[in-house]
């Protein structure tokens, strides 16, 4: 472990790459030498990102993560085109604020598909021997503190994120013999477009309450990207099935 924070030459797939935590993760891992495979459904966002990444060997791919059956096959195609993967980061996610009584299946289907089921499809795709490097690799799923605490209106989002932790625990055991590590990062409230969208429904008092609930203040996407990078790198080679909470002290208080 001479260079525990190095990702030189490692190919890392990042979903939700065009914005927020996904975008910050791409920039962070590229600066550590990784070759980024940026996945999103926002074509213009992907093109803009690719133009800004440091280093070489980056690529992008348009994907609609709701097409779950297509994810593993698309990953095989990517590996055949550009080389096998050393890591996957599932940062794509959509928010949901709705009272439970309104959560008919059609109202939470996309939340569960993109936040949760796509993560399972990504793990299935990654473990394929044509996709994952022979020595193994690291999968990081972006969960949320909403997986650990609750909020009125957060039912669909909370359940979609909590499921990731269960997924990580059991899949981590299954793939440990092959050197594949699977962990979650659980961020608190981070200043992203998604946060602004959710916060738009709050009044000034609610906004201030949320900010005060984070002893270190609201987070920046880079803060979360740094924790993701730690879990991708060899510095965390003995960490699997685990959740790293990165929340400015939100859940401690």
């Amino acid at each position: 472990m001479s260079q525990p924070f190095d990702l030189a030459g490692r190919r890392i797939l990042v979903t939700g790459a065009a914005a927020g935590i996904g975008r910050a993760t791409c920039q962070r891992v590229a600066s550590m030498g990784a070759h980024v495979l940026a996945v999103d459904r926002d074509e213009a966002g992907l093109a803009a990102l690719l133009g800004q990444l440091p280093g070489t060997g980056h690529a992008s791919r348009m994907m609609d993560l709701r097409e779950l059956e297509e994810i593993p096959a698309a990953m095989i195609a990517c590996a055949e085109e550009g080389g096998r993967l050393a890591g996957v980061v599932h940062a794509a996610g959509i928010s949901s604020v709705a009272p439970t009584r309104l959560l008919a299946p059609r109202h939470y289907r996309d939340v569960l598909a993109i936040n949760t089921e796509a993560a399972l499809a990504l793990v299935r795709g990654f473990q394929n021997r044509k996709v994952c490097e022979e020595s193994g690799g690291s999968v990081v799923l972006i969960a949320s503190v909403m997986a650990l605490v609750g909020s009125v209106g957060g039912t669909a989002y909370s359940m979609s994120k909590a499921a990731l932790m269960g997924l990580a625990r059991s899949a981590a055991l299954e793939y440990a013999p092959r050197g594949i590590r699977i962990n979650c990062v659980a961020p608190g409230f981070v200043k992203t477009q998604m946060y602004e969208k959710v916060a738009a429904s709050w009044d000034a008092v609610q906004r201030e309450q949320i900010e005060r609930a984070h002893p270190l203040g609201l987070g920046d996407p880079d803060d979360v990207a740094n924790s993701v990078a730690f879990l991708l790198a060899d510095a965390s080679r003995w960490i699997t099935g685990s959740t790293l909470v990165c929340d400015g002290g939100y859940t401690a208080s």
């Binding site: 002893p215 960490i239 790293l244 990165c246």
Partner: protein, 249 residues
């Protein structure tokens, strides 16, 4: 005289503490704590830039003596502590009925109360100005689970984690406070457990990524102290090769 900012590592004379010291020594001066001066000196010479590190020999079981010893040393050497890593720990395994009060007190003092005493001193302006900005406690997965003969050890580590969370809230945003929870790592403290062939075999079966190395823990401590973790506080980071999520029979 401008005080010199350093990182205090307790339990640096062996095991995870020593490995953590070696790992952190590239970043700046260390204050290496341990009971045995000769072994501390050995840690110091193995560090990068050995000449810039300081030694604090003290037995943390002597709780009442910590204040005088630490305060004098900081003043005499012109040091302030910016970061504090508590690695010192003792493990005495045995059924409750065979434990004497002395062993219980020793475990609670070294593993938990000394961390309270040291942080209490390091947040006092008269002693350490406002130098402190990061704290990491090396706890254990034993803070979350039970095991036969581990009652007091588990209690000491649970207490440490409870204190860690409250301290993180109280001292934010100036100081970040976190814990690393290692699974079984082969060190001098745990060596007696690994000598038993049955235990070793069980460990290898129960740890999906195998038994860990001291460097795995040092890397996690290094991360939590670094600016990369600037929004992480009040957290327990489990580093255990998947052991605690494994209920496969």
């Amino acid at each position: 005289m401008t005080p010199e900012l350093c990182t205090l590592v307790t339990g640096a004379s062996s095991g995870i503490g020593r490995e953590t010291a070696l790992r952190l020594s590239q970043h700046g001066p260390l204050l290496l704590h341990g009971r045995d001066v000769a072994r501390l000196e050995e840690t110091r010479v193995r560090c990068q830039h050995p000449e810039r590190h300081h030694l604090w020999p003290h037995d943390l079981a002597d709780l009442a003596g910590i204040e005088r010893s630490l305060v004098q040393l900081l003043a005499a050497q012109g040091l302030q502590v910016a970061r504090f890593v508590h690695c010192a720990g003792v493990l005495q395994v045995g059924p409750l009925r065979l434990l004497d009060r002395g062993a219980i007190e020793r475990t609670m003092n070294v593993n938990f109360l000394s961390a309270v005493e040291i942080t209490r001193l390091l947040v006092r302006k008269k002693i350490n100005e406002k130098a402190l900005n990061g704290v990491v406690f090396v706890s254990s997965t034993a803070s979350q689970f039970g095991a036969k003969g581990f009652g007091i050890y588990c209690a000491s580590k649970s207490a440490l984690d409870g204190y860690m969370r409250a301290l993180a809230v109280e001292l934010a945003p100036a100081v970040r406070v976190n814990a690393v929870l290692p699974g079984a790592v082969r060190t001098a403290m745990t060596e007696h457990m690994f000598e038993d062939a049955d235990v070793l075999e069980r460990m290898q079966r129960d740890y999906p990524l195998g038994v860990g190395e001291q460097a795995d823990i040092a890397a996690a401590v290094n991360f939590l102290l670094s600016d990369e973790a600037r929004w992480v506080t009040g957290q327990q980071l489990v580093v255990d090769g998947g052991r605690t999520v494994n209920i496969t029979g």
